[in-house]
Symmetry: C2
Subunit: 200 residues, 2 copies
Protein backbone atom coordinates (compact mmCIF):
# COMPACT_ATOMS: atom_id res chain seq x y z
CA UNK A 1 0.00 0.00 0.00
CA UNK A 2 3.03 2.21 -0.50
CA UNK A 3 3.08 4.76 -3.35
CA UNK A 4 3.80 3.25 -6.78
CA UNK A 5 7.52 2.67 -7.24
CA UNK A 6 7.87 5.05 -10.19
CA UNK A 7 6.50 7.85 -7.98
CA UNK A 8 8.82 6.85 -5.14
CA UNK A 9 11.86 6.84 -7.38
CA UNK A 10 10.89 10.25 -8.79
CA UNK A 11 10.66 11.63 -5.24
CA UNK A 12 14.06 10.10 -4.44
CA UNK A 13 15.58 11.49 -7.64
CA UNK A 14 14.33 15.03 -6.92
CA UNK A 15 16.36 14.95 -3.70
CA UNK A 16 19.52 15.44 -5.76
CA UNK A 17 18.50 19.08 -6.28
CA UNK A 18 20.22 21.42 -3.83
CA UNK A 19 17.95 22.60 -1.02
CA UNK A 20 15.26 19.99 -1.70
CA UNK A 21 14.35 17.82 1.30
CA UNK A 22 11.89 14.90 1.50
CA UNK A 23 8.78 17.08 1.88
CA UNK A 24 9.61 19.41 -1.02
CA UNK A 25 10.56 16.46 -3.20
CA UNK A 26 7.15 14.91 -2.51
CA UNK A 27 5.39 18.18 -3.25
CA UNK A 28 7.36 18.64 -6.48
CA UNK A 29 6.64 15.08 -7.65
CA UNK A 30 2.90 15.43 -7.00
CA UNK A 31 2.82 18.82 -8.66
CA UNK A 32 4.59 17.58 -11.77
CA UNK A 33 2.48 14.44 -12.12
CA UNK A 34 -0.84 16.05 -11.24
CA UNK A 35 -0.68 19.59 -12.55
CA UNK A 36 2.21 19.95 -14.96
CA UNK A 37 3.01 16.89 -17.02
CA UNK A 38 4.13 19.07 -19.97
CA UNK A 39 6.56 20.76 -17.55
CA UNK A 40 7.86 17.36 -16.47
CA UNK A 41 8.31 16.41 -20.13
CA UNK A 42 10.26 19.60 -20.76
CA UNK A 43 12.39 19.06 -17.67
CA UNK A 44 13.25 15.48 -18.64
CA UNK A 45 14.12 16.56 -22.18
CA UNK A 46 16.23 19.54 -21.02
CA UNK A 47 18.15 17.39 -18.56
CA UNK A 48 18.83 14.84 -21.27
CA UNK A 49 19.93 17.52 -23.72
CA UNK A 50 22.13 19.34 -21.19
CA UNK A 51 23.78 16.07 -20.17
CA UNK A 52 24.51 15.28 -23.79
CA UNK A 53 25.70 18.66 -25.02
CA UNK A 54 27.19 20.60 -22.09
CA UNK A 55 30.91 20.36 -21.57
CA UNK A 56 33.61 22.59 -20.15
CA UNK A 57 35.40 25.09 -22.34
CA UNK A 58 38.97 23.89 -22.85
CA UNK A 59 40.32 27.33 -22.07
CA UNK A 60 38.09 29.00 -19.50
CA UNK A 61 36.35 25.93 -18.02
CA UNK A 62 32.88 27.46 -18.33
CA UNK A 63 29.95 25.45 -19.65
CA UNK A 64 29.69 25.43 -23.40
CA UNK A 65 28.40 23.27 -26.20
CA UNK A 66 31.59 23.79 -28.21
CA UNK A 67 35.19 22.81 -27.45
CA UNK A 68 36.11 26.43 -26.89
CA UNK A 69 33.41 28.89 -25.84
CA UNK A 70 32.30 31.92 -27.78
CA UNK A 71 34.03 34.32 -25.41
CA UNK A 72 37.39 32.57 -25.56
CA UNK A 73 37.20 32.57 -29.36
CA UNK A 74 36.36 36.27 -29.57
CA UNK A 75 39.17 38.41 -31.00
CA UNK A 76 37.72 41.47 -29.25
CA UNK A 77 38.72 40.31 -25.75
CA UNK A 78 42.06 41.25 -24.22
CA UNK A 79 44.02 37.97 -24.01
CA UNK A 80 46.49 39.52 -21.58
CA UNK A 81 44.08 39.68 -18.66
CA UNK A 82 42.64 36.64 -16.93
CA UNK A 83 39.93 37.05 -14.32
CA UNK A 84 39.39 34.04 -12.04
CA UNK A 85 35.81 33.65 -10.79
CA UNK A 86 34.00 30.92 -8.88
CA UNK A 87 30.97 30.42 -11.10
CA UNK A 88 29.38 31.30 -14.41
CA UNK A 89 27.01 33.56 -12.50
CA UNK A 90 29.95 35.56 -11.14
CA UNK A 91 31.31 35.81 -14.67
CA UNK A 92 27.95 37.18 -15.83
CA UNK A 93 28.05 39.73 -12.99
CA UNK A 94 31.54 40.85 -14.05
CA UNK A 95 30.34 41.19 -17.64
CA UNK A 96 27.44 43.35 -16.52
CA UNK A 97 29.89 45.92 -15.15
CA UNK A 98 31.06 46.62 -18.73
CA UNK A 99 34.37 47.43 -17.03
CA UNK A 100 36.29 44.33 -18.07
CA UNK A 101 37.13 43.05 -21.49
CA UNK A 102 39.71 40.37 -20.72
CA UNK A 103 39.42 36.61 -20.46
CA UNK A 104 38.03 34.48 -17.65
CA UNK A 105 38.78 31.28 -15.87
CA UNK A 106 35.79 29.75 -14.12
CA UNK A 107 36.76 27.58 -11.15
CA UNK A 108 33.27 25.99 -11.06
CA UNK A 109 33.45 26.02 -7.28
CA UNK A 110 35.75 27.07 -4.49
CA UNK A 111 37.94 25.36 -1.93
CA UNK A 112 35.52 24.29 0.78
CA UNK A 113 36.86 21.68 3.19
CA UNK A 114 33.46 21.38 4.89
CA UNK A 115 31.88 20.29 1.60
CA UNK A 116 34.80 18.00 0.83
CA UNK A 117 36.05 20.25 -1.96
CA UNK A 118 39.81 20.59 -1.79
CA UNK A 119 42.39 21.72 -4.28
CA UNK A 120 42.26 18.38 -6.08
CA UNK A 121 38.47 18.46 -6.50
CA UNK A 122 38.67 21.97 -7.97
CA UNK A 123 41.05 20.69 -10.66
CA UNK A 124 43.47 23.61 -10.70
CA UNK A 125 45.80 21.77 -13.12
CA UNK A 126 43.63 23.10 -15.91
CA UNK A 127 44.12 26.66 -14.67
CA UNK A 128 47.89 26.16 -14.47
CA UNK A 129 47.89 24.75 -17.97
CA UNK A 130 45.88 27.74 -19.12
CA UNK A 131 48.53 30.04 -17.62
CA UNK A 132 51.37 28.08 -19.27
CA UNK A 133 49.83 28.29 -22.69
CA UNK A 134 49.06 31.92 -22.68
CA UNK A 135 50.58 35.30 -22.99
CA UNK A 136 48.66 36.27 -19.88
CA UNK A 137 50.23 39.29 -18.20
CA UNK A 138 47.74 39.86 -15.40
CA UNK A 139 45.57 37.68 -13.21
CA UNK A 140 42.62 39.22 -11.36
CA UNK A 141 41.24 37.07 -8.59
CA UNK A 142 37.52 37.70 -8.25
CA UNK A 143 36.38 34.91 -5.93
CA UNK A 144 33.74 35.82 -3.36
CA UNK A 145 34.55 37.50 -0.07
CA UNK A 146 33.14 34.57 1.87
CA UNK A 147 35.42 32.38 3.97
CA UNK A 148 35.64 29.80 1.20
CA UNK A 149 36.22 32.43 -1.49
CA UNK A 150 38.98 34.04 0.61
CA UNK A 151 40.69 30.70 1.25
CA UNK A 152 40.55 30.02 -2.47
CA UNK A 153 41.96 33.47 -3.26
CA UNK A 154 44.83 32.99 -0.83
CA UNK A 155 45.61 29.58 -2.25
CA UNK A 156 45.64 30.99 -5.78
CA UNK A 157 47.89 33.88 -4.75
CA UNK A 158 50.39 31.46 -3.17
CA UNK A 159 50.27 29.27 -6.25
CA UNK A 160 50.87 32.16 -8.65
CA UNK A 161 53.51 33.93 -6.54
CA UNK A 162 56.52 32.54 -8.38
CA UNK A 163 55.16 33.30 -11.82
CA UNK A 164 56.01 36.44 -13.76
CA UNK A 165 52.48 37.75 -13.53
CA UNK A 166 50.73 40.75 -12.05
CA UNK A 167 48.31 39.17 -9.62
CA UNK A 168 45.59 41.25 -8.00
CA UNK A 169 42.46 40.75 -5.93
CA UNK A 170 39.31 42.83 -6.53
CA UNK A 171 38.85 45.45 -3.81
CA UNK A 172 36.80 45.17 -0.67
CA UNK A 173 35.11 48.22 0.78
CA UNK A 174 31.91 50.16 1.27
CA UNK A 175 29.55 49.41 -1.65
CA UNK A 176 28.82 52.21 -4.08
CA UNK A 177 25.73 54.02 -2.78
CA UNK A 178 26.37 52.43 0.63
CA UNK A 179 25.84 54.33 3.86
CA UNK A 180 28.30 53.78 6.68
CA UNK A 181 25.36 53.37 9.06
CA UNK A 182 24.26 50.20 7.32
CA UNK A 183 27.63 48.67 6.49
CA UNK A 184 28.89 45.92 8.79
CA UNK A 185 31.90 46.66 10.98
CA UNK A 186 34.17 44.19 9.19
CA UNK A 187 33.59 45.84 5.83
CA UNK A 188 34.10 49.30 7.31
CA UNK A 189 37.33 48.23 9.07
CA UNK A 190 38.56 46.82 5.77
CA UNK A 191 37.61 50.00 3.92
CA UNK A 192 39.58 51.99 6.51
CA UNK A 193 42.62 49.71 6.34
CA UNK A 194 42.63 49.82 2.54
CA UNK A 195 42.04 53.58 2.32
CA UNK A 196 43.49 55.21 -0.76
CA UNK A 197 45.44 58.45 -0.79
CA UNK A 198 43.32 61.29 -2.11
CA UNK A 199 45.18 62.11 -5.30
CA UNK A 200 44.00 64.92 -7.51
CA UNK B 1 28.05 35.57 -24.93
CA UNK B 2 24.97 34.25 -23.21
CA UNK B 3 25.03 30.84 -21.51
CA UNK B 4 24.77 27.89 -23.90
CA UNK B 5 21.18 27.31 -24.94
CA UNK B 6 20.96 23.82 -23.46
CA UNK B 7 21.87 25.30 -20.06
CA UNK B 8 19.37 28.12 -20.51
CA UNK B 9 16.59 25.73 -21.39
CA UNK B 10 17.44 23.53 -18.39
CA UNK B 11 17.22 26.59 -16.13
CA UNK B 12 13.88 27.51 -17.70
CA UNK B 13 12.58 23.95 -17.35
CA UNK B 14 13.48 23.78 -13.66
CA UNK B 15 11.16 26.76 -13.08
CA UNK B 16 8.19 24.40 -13.48
CA UNK B 17 8.97 22.99 -10.02
CA UNK B 18 6.84 24.59 -7.31
CA UNK B 19 8.72 27.14 -5.20
CA UNK B 20 11.65 27.40 -7.62
CA UNK B 21 12.42 30.92 -8.83
CA UNK B 22 15.05 32.09 -11.33
CA UNK B 23 17.94 32.11 -8.82
CA UNK B 24 17.22 28.63 -7.43
CA UNK B 25 16.74 27.25 -10.93
CA UNK B 26 20.15 28.60 -11.91
CA UNK B 27 21.75 27.14 -8.78
CA UNK B 28 20.07 23.77 -9.38
CA UNK B 29 21.17 23.65 -13.03
CA UNK B 30 24.79 24.48 -12.16
CA UNK B 31 24.79 21.98 -9.32
CA UNK B 32 23.44 19.18 -11.51
CA UNK B 33 25.79 19.86 -14.40
CA UNK B 34 28.87 20.54 -12.31
CA UNK B 35 28.59 18.32 -9.26
CA UNK B 36 25.93 15.68 -9.82
CA UNK B 37 25.58 14.45 -13.37
CA UNK B 38 24.60 10.95 -12.18
CA UNK B 39 21.82 12.63 -10.16
CA UNK B 40 20.68 14.48 -13.27
CA UNK B 41 20.68 11.18 -15.18
CA UNK B 42 18.56 9.57 -12.48
CA UNK B 43 16.17 12.52 -12.40
CA UNK B 44 15.69 12.50 -16.17
CA UNK B 45 15.09 8.73 -16.14
CA UNK B 46 12.66 8.89 -13.20
CA UNK B 47 10.68 11.69 -14.81
CA UNK B 48 10.46 9.73 -18.03
CA UNK B 49 9.40 6.56 -16.21
CA UNK B 50 6.84 8.33 -14.02
CA UNK B 51 5.35 10.08 -17.06
CA UNK B 52 5.04 6.76 -18.83
CA UNK B 53 3.71 4.58 -16.03
CA UNK B 54 1.80 6.77 -13.57
CA UNK B 55 -1.93 7.08 -14.04
CA UNK B 56 -4.92 7.65 -11.82
CA UNK B 57 -6.69 4.73 -10.16
CA UNK B 58 -10.09 4.30 -11.83
CA UNK B 59 -11.80 4.04 -8.46
CA UNK B 60 -9.95 6.22 -5.95
CA UNK B 61 -8.13 8.59 -8.32
CA UNK B 62 -4.77 8.12 -6.57
CA UNK B 63 -1.57 7.62 -8.55
CA UNK B 64 -0.96 4.03 -9.51
CA UNK B 65 0.77 2.01 -12.20
CA UNK B 66 -2.25 -0.29 -12.55
CA UNK B 67 -5.80 0.46 -13.67
CA UNK B 68 -7.07 -0.05 -10.14
CA UNK B 69 -4.70 0.49 -7.24
CA UNK B 70 -3.65 -2.11 -4.71
CA UNK B 71 -5.78 -0.61 -1.96
CA UNK B 72 -8.98 -0.52 -4.03
CA UNK B 73 -8.42 -4.16 -5.01
CA UNK B 74 -7.86 -5.30 -1.43
CA UNK B 75 -10.69 -7.47 -0.04
CA UNK B 76 -9.68 -6.51 3.50
CA UNK B 77 -10.91 -2.93 3.20
CA UNK B 78 -14.47 -1.93 4.14
CA UNK B 79 -16.14 -0.99 0.85
CA UNK B 80 -18.98 0.73 2.70
CA UNK B 81 -16.88 3.67 3.86
CA UNK B 82 -15.34 6.28 1.57
CA UNK B 83 -12.95 8.86 2.92
CA UNK B 84 -12.37 11.91 0.70
CA UNK B 85 -8.92 13.47 1.03
CA UNK B 86 -7.09 16.18 -0.89
CA UNK B 87 -3.82 14.40 -1.63
CA UNK B 88 -1.99 11.10 -1.49
CA UNK B 89 -0.01 12.49 1.44
CA UNK B 90 -3.22 13.05 3.40
CA UNK B 91 -4.25 9.49 2.56
CA UNK B 92 -0.93 8.25 3.93
CA UNK B 93 -1.54 10.28 7.11
CA UNK B 94 -4.99 8.70 7.53
CA UNK B 95 -3.47 5.25 7.06
CA UNK B 96 -0.88 5.95 9.72
CA UNK B 97 -3.66 6.39 12.28
CA UNK B 98 -4.53 2.67 11.88
CA UNK B 99 -8.04 3.85 12.76
CA UNK B 100 -9.58 3.56 9.32
CA UNK B 101 -9.99 0.53 7.10
CA UNK B 102 -12.40 1.84 4.47
CA UNK B 103 -11.84 3.12 0.95
CA UNK B 104 -10.55 6.49 -0.20
CA UNK B 105 -11.19 9.02 -2.87
CA UNK B 106 -8.25 11.34 -3.57
CA UNK B 107 -9.34 14.71 -4.98
CA UNK B 108 -5.76 15.47 -6.10
CA UNK B 109 -6.32 19.07 -5.12
CA UNK B 110 -8.93 21.31 -3.61
CA UNK B 111 -11.21 24.07 -4.79
CA UNK B 112 -9.00 27.14 -4.84
CA UNK B 113 -10.34 30.06 -6.87
CA UNK B 114 -7.12 32.03 -6.34
CA UNK B 115 -5.13 29.29 -8.08
CA UNK B 116 -7.75 28.95 -10.82
CA UNK B 117 -8.92 25.57 -9.52
CA UNK B 118 -12.69 25.38 -9.53
CA UNK B 119 -15.10 22.50 -9.38
CA UNK B 120 -14.53 21.69 -13.04
CA UNK B 121 -10.74 21.54 -12.67
CA UNK B 122 -11.08 19.15 -9.73
CA UNK B 123 -13.07 16.75 -11.88
CA UNK B 124 -15.72 15.75 -9.35
CA UNK B 125 -17.64 13.75 -12.00
CA UNK B 126 -15.33 10.87 -11.25
CA UNK B 127 -16.23 11.06 -7.56
CA UNK B 128 -19.96 11.12 -8.38
CA UNK B 129 -19.49 8.14 -10.66
CA UNK B 130 -17.66 6.35 -7.88
CA UNK B 131 -20.60 6.99 -5.55
CA UNK B 132 -23.11 5.74 -8.15
CA UNK B 133 -21.29 2.51 -8.72
CA UNK B 134 -20.79 1.59 -5.16
CA UNK B 135 -22.55 0.25 -2.15
CA UNK B 136 -21.00 3.13 -0.21
CA UNK B 137 -22.96 3.80 2.98
CA UNK B 138 -20.82 6.50 4.50
CA UNK B 139 -18.69 9.36 3.22
CA UNK B 140 -16.10 10.92 5.51
CA UNK B 141 -14.80 14.28 4.31
CA UNK B 142 -11.20 14.70 5.41
CA UNK B 143 -10.07 17.75 3.46
CA UNK B 144 -7.77 20.16 5.28
CA UNK B 145 -9.05 22.80 7.68
CA UNK B 146 -7.57 25.55 5.54
CA UNK B 147 -9.86 28.01 3.76
CA UNK B 148 -9.61 26.03 0.52
CA UNK B 149 -10.15 22.72 2.28
CA UNK B 150 -13.21 24.07 4.08
CA UNK B 151 -14.70 25.49 0.87
CA UNK B 152 -14.14 22.10 -0.76
CA UNK B 153 -15.75 20.30 2.20
CA UNK B 154 -18.80 22.57 2.07
CA UNK B 155 -19.15 22.08 -1.65
CA UNK B 156 -18.95 18.31 -1.25
CA UNK B 157 -21.53 18.35 1.57
CA UNK B 158 -23.96 20.34 -0.59
CA UNK B 159 -23.36 17.99 -3.49
CA UNK B 160 -23.96 14.86 -1.43
CA UNK B 161 -26.93 16.21 0.58
CA UNK B 162 -29.64 14.59 -1.56
CA UNK B 163 -27.99 11.21 -1.61
CA UNK B 164 -28.90 8.42 0.80
CA UNK B 165 -25.51 8.54 2.48
CA UNK B 166 -24.19 9.26 5.93
CA UNK B 167 -21.88 12.20 5.30
CA UNK B 168 -19.51 13.39 8.01
CA UNK B 169 -16.57 15.71 8.40
CA UNK B 170 -13.58 14.81 10.58
CA UNK B 171 -13.60 16.72 13.86
CA UNK B 172 -11.86 19.96 14.64
CA UNK B 173 -10.61 20.63 18.13
CA UNK B 174 -7.67 20.79 20.50
CA UNK B 175 -4.96 18.37 19.25
CA UNK B 176 -4.25 15.30 21.36
CA UNK B 177 -1.50 16.27 23.80
CA UNK B 178 -2.32 19.93 23.11
CA UNK B 179 -2.30 22.53 25.86
CA UNK B 180 -4.98 25.21 25.81
CA UNK B 181 -2.28 27.80 26.39
CA UNK B 182 -0.71 27.10 23.01
CA UNK B 183 -3.84 26.50 20.95
CA UNK B 184 -5.06 29.38 18.78
CA UNK B 185 -8.32 31.06 19.73
CA UNK B 186 -10.18 29.87 16.63
CA UNK B 187 -9.42 26.23 17.37
CA UNK B 188 -10.38 26.64 21.03
CA UNK B 189 -13.65 28.39 20.11
CA UNK B 190 -14.42 25.54 17.75
CA UNK B 191 -13.60 22.94 20.40
CA UNK B 192 -15.98 24.72 22.78
CA UNK B 193 -18.78 24.96 20.21
CA UNK B 194 -18.41 21.30 19.29
CA UNK B 195 -18.12 20.10 22.86
CA UNK B 196 -19.39 16.58 23.45
CA UNK B 197 -21.60 15.52 26.34
CA UNK B 198 -19.62 13.62 28.95
CA UNK B 199 -21.21 10.19 28.70
CA UNK B 200 -20.03 7.37 30.91
Amino acid sequence: MTPPSSLESLIAALRCLPGVGPKSAQRMAFHLMQRDRPGAERLAASLRRALETLKHCERCNTFTEDDICERCRSPKRDAGQLCIVETMIDMAMMEQTLAYSGMYYVLMGRISPLDGIGVRELGLEKLLERLNDEAVREVIIATNFTNEGEITAHYLMEMLKTRPLRVSRIARGVPVGGELEYVDAGTLAQALRERKPAVE
